[in-house]
Amino acid sequence: MPKITFIRADGSQQVLDGAVGQSVMQLATAHGISEIEADCGGACACATFHVIVEPDWAGRLPPQGVMEADMITFAAGVTPTSRLSCQLTITDNMDGLILHLPTQQV
């Protein structure tokens, strides 16, 4: 199972075992990561799934689709490696992925 590390704004870390095929959002919310508010449930309608990808990893993830690119502009504190976790489907290639959690979603 791919291991994914979530790093909070205060520096604390949580490492979770992801299941291939689930979204990063599903993994995070199932383990009580409350920084991902997940207001729309994963339909890419709310921009409250914001995560910031560790720069080393940014180029190794599948590129943003048009829907994610549109919606992420509304998230707070967007960086060049920001993604919406509802649109990141976990694959075996994501073992070791490091994601930073924002302090505020929108």
Partner: protein
């Protein structure tokens, strides 16, 4: 069937149950087809492209910069101002849409709707037990429709005495293209009456706030200012129309599906809580309470080889995409354990996805569980009546009797 002869604007096409054979023909032979309005009040309005395949609908739904909700999501012609009086931020794009939607999004999030669960349970219990007591009811008008009407009216702050009137106005506003509900020319007047009702309620709550959504809207600031009473009135209307007819439609069809598929009803009854989440998604797929939405092309483009000009209307027929053979095995079957079930009953994804989806996902399992427990062995007690609308896949009447030969 000749795909070129199918005209989705013809009122006769929408009589009775949905013509799924025609949509299957369109998907196979003419997946993107042009439709001009037939005789009637909409004759002479600009026609539209009809998208019937799942993938094409997703393409349009998810690309909100190329396929816009402005000026309107109405299938006919309407000014931007008229559209915003009827659909408010549904008929907007860009940051303003996002800001206005965000005001409601958290309240109707999966966590947010939990606040309304106890009230929903109380309403559903009262309606189902009353039906059990009678033994024979119109499941549409006695149970499935009044249930979400009561929940959304309590949520918004409309008093119980006005529930029936709210539902009457909503049904005529959303399904008003059906001749028996007034026809397309009358639709605007029902939206206006709902807006006026919402505005009056907003005025009242401005004076004396209560613990309801209309009162809450007076506390919100968007773009550095509070909403006017009229703006709150339109938001009231948007939520009342969206929250009543859709869930009422799914609840009514649920009973029809139970009668047509007793095996699936029996299966669900073996584990009402455990199977509910998937079963509800399957009902929303098969029923597709909102059958279409329109977008407008922002520039010249192409969808699956079909040239689309800037300004063309593009209509996503969710009712067809939800039965696309390339996405769903045996798409016409009611299969409560269908998995995966990437249906488009709440839209094809993206920023205009159904805002009330999680409210419906909270409400419907409650109704289903109570129905399975108390209303066993349902059987038809008269002819069902379908709404002859191209927009709302509703039922006006579904007479049913229960518990025949069962000691309860």
């Amino acid at each position: 069937m000749d795909a070129t002869k199918i005209n989705l604007t013809d009122p006769a096409f929408w009589q009775g149950p949905v013509n799924f054979e025609a949509f299957a023909t369109l998907r196979r032979d003419l997946p993107i087809s042009w439709h001009d309005f037939c005789e009637g009040p909409e004759h002479g309005m600009t026609g539209f492209w009809a998208l019937t395949r799942y993938d094409d609908i997703v393409t349009v739904s998810q690309n909100s910069s190329l396929f816009r909700n402005q000026p309107s999501t109405y299938i006919g012609d309407q000014s931007e101002e008229e559209a915003q009086h009827e659909g408010w931020f549904l008929n907007m794009d860009g940051p303003r849409h996002f800001m206005l939607r965000s005001v409601v999004q958290k309240i109707l999030s999966p966590k947010g709707v939990e606040r309304y669960r106890a009230n929903a349970e109380a309403h559903a219990t009262a309606l189902v037990l009353a039906a059990k007591e009678k033994g024979e009811v119109d499941f549409a008008t006695d149970v499935a429709q009044p249930y979400p009407v009561a929940v959304i009216c309590d949520f918004l702050g409309a008093p119980p005495s006005d529930r029936k009137h709210m539902h009457y106005l909503t049904q005529h506003a959303l399904a008003g293209d059906a001749p028996e509900l007034g026809g397309p020319a009358s639709v605007a007047s029902y939206f206006k009456e709902l807006n006026d009702y919402g505005t009056a309620l907003a005025r009242e709550r401005r004076r004396s706030p209560k613990d309801d959504f209309v009162s809450y809207l007076h506390t919100v600031e968007v773009d550095g200012r509070r909403f006017t009473d009229e703006e709150i009135g339109v938001q009231f209307q948007l939520l009342v129309t969206a929250g009543m007819e859709t869930t009422g439609t799914v609840g009514t069809h649920m009973m029809r599906l139970f009668m047509e598929n007793p095996d699936q009803m029996a299966l669900w009854a073996t584990d009402p809580d455990g199977l509910a989440a998937g079963a509800v998604e399957e009902m929303v797929r098969l029923i597709t309470p909102v059958m279409h939405m329109r977008r407008t092309a922002a520039e010249d483009t192409e969808i699956a080889g079909q040239k689309i000009a800037a300004g063309d209307k593009v209509v996503m027929w969710f009712i067809s995409g939800n039965r696309d053979e390339t996405k769903f095995q045996h798409p016409d079957h009611f299969h409560i354990q269908r998995n995966p079930n990437p249906h488009m009953g709440f839209g094809g994804g993206g920023r205009h996805t159904c805002l009330g989806a999680h409210l419906a996902r909270m409400e419907l399992p409650i109704l289903a569980k109570l129905t399975l427990k108390h209303l066993s062995r349902p059987e038809p007690a008269g002819e069902p009546v379908y709404v002859a609308s191209r927009f709302a896949n509703g039922m006006l009447s579904l007479p049913v009797r229960f518990n025949q030969g069962v000691r309860t």
